[in-house]
Subunit: 219 residues, 2 copies
């Protein structure tokens, strides 16, 4: 029982920090998205395509979470958007305290949107609130269509599902509608996007949606 | 400090169970492989291809770890190999105690090889010894070649790297040799295989290697 109690302690402490973050984001009218997926589903690639469209109208800050390397932050910076890299060392997810630390002393008054790209992991990040407005879950067509029912906890806490790598459908055994049906079966409130960062399919729709969310937060 | 101490407690308890498993496997001369990867890298697909070759000569038992569903065990059973499904509920990895429980009362004297397919997760399973002889790490060509340096803990504890989904190389931006160089940079003892479960490339080589490992364990 000791383990369970301590895990609860970690989650409670995280929730306090997440509540604080949420209040900071609210005061500054910043829309915050927590982007989650398996490793290699295309989170950074999606940002590389969407950021150039959205940055025309809004100031965006990207926070990258990885065990090691600055690779993803560097990829984001090439789009002209500011990016902060967090290296978690061994940790399999970001915690609210990581976000609090990197934002300390940061001038948030000019930021419209923060995108947090979590560590690639379809399990653990589902338990850790980062004060975000919503979680966006990516799955890619190369992962197999049963992932939403094999990893239901992440589907349950997400508001948006992006099915990415549509361009690879001719070469893989993946039924998009079946994957979406599985996901909706776990969480029937999911908003769905279908994208390819290679052909550009669905990118504009996702960018338009993101802009509308940023705008809504200002009201 | 409380968190760190308890995590150490969990790992120490796991190690005791893993040591017990290792001694059971040794007594029964069973070669045990712990198969790890991101979700959707093709662990089950690799087994579907390799098991029909290896089962001709050896008795194999597969243990499948997933948060939910019996899907993977069912896929394995279609090859004629016995499979036990463990559903971890919310847990992001298998622990030695899970393996001990399902093997309790099981007649191991006729088993030559146990393959444990871990939960799809490139982080947490690296910390939990399951009493295996070695870990086999799969990465797929759709995941991006920098995964070995972004998730180095798993590379460090693995003995074998399988680069899977070779057939998709014409359609993705993935440099196989670069991925292997990154991996070797983290762990220069890695044995490397390159496979495609679609074209069958590299499957025979992997099956031959597995047979030799099973044979070695009998000596």
């Amino acid at each position: 029982m000791k383990t369970v109690e301590v895990k609860k302690g970690i989650l409670e402490r995280n929730q306090e920090n997440a509540d604080l973050l949420r209040s900071i984001f609210y005061q500054n009218r910043i829309f915050v998205m927590n982007l989650v997926s398996s490793p290699g589903s295309g989170k950074t690639s999606l940002l590389e395509k969407v950021l150039p469209i959205v940055k025309e109208n809004y100031n965006i800050l990207v926070i990258e979470g990885d065990l090691q390397t600055e690779n993803d932050a560097e990829r984001v910076r090439k789009t002209g958007v500011e990016a902060i890299q967090i290296n978690t060392g061994g940790a399999c997810h970001l915690e609210a305290v990581n976000i609090l630390k990197v934002l300390k002393g940061y001038d948030l008054t000019k930021i419209d949107c923060i995108i947090i790209e979590n560590v690639g992991n379809l399990v653990c990040p589902s338990s850790f609130d980062l004060g975000e407005d919503l979680k966006v879950l990516l799955i890619s067509t190369t992962e197999g269509e049963d992932k939403p029912i094999k990893y239901p906890s992440m589907v349950r806490v997400s508001s948006v599902l992006v099915v990415n790598k549509l361009d690879l459908i001719p070469y893989v055994n993946f039924d998009v509608e079946k994957a979406i049906t599985y996901a909706i079966g776990v969480n029937n409130k999911l908003e769905i996007f279908k994208t390819s960062c290679f052909t550009g399919e669905g990118i504009e729709e996702f960018a338009v949606w993101l802009k509308s969310k940023i705008e809504d937060k200002k009201l």
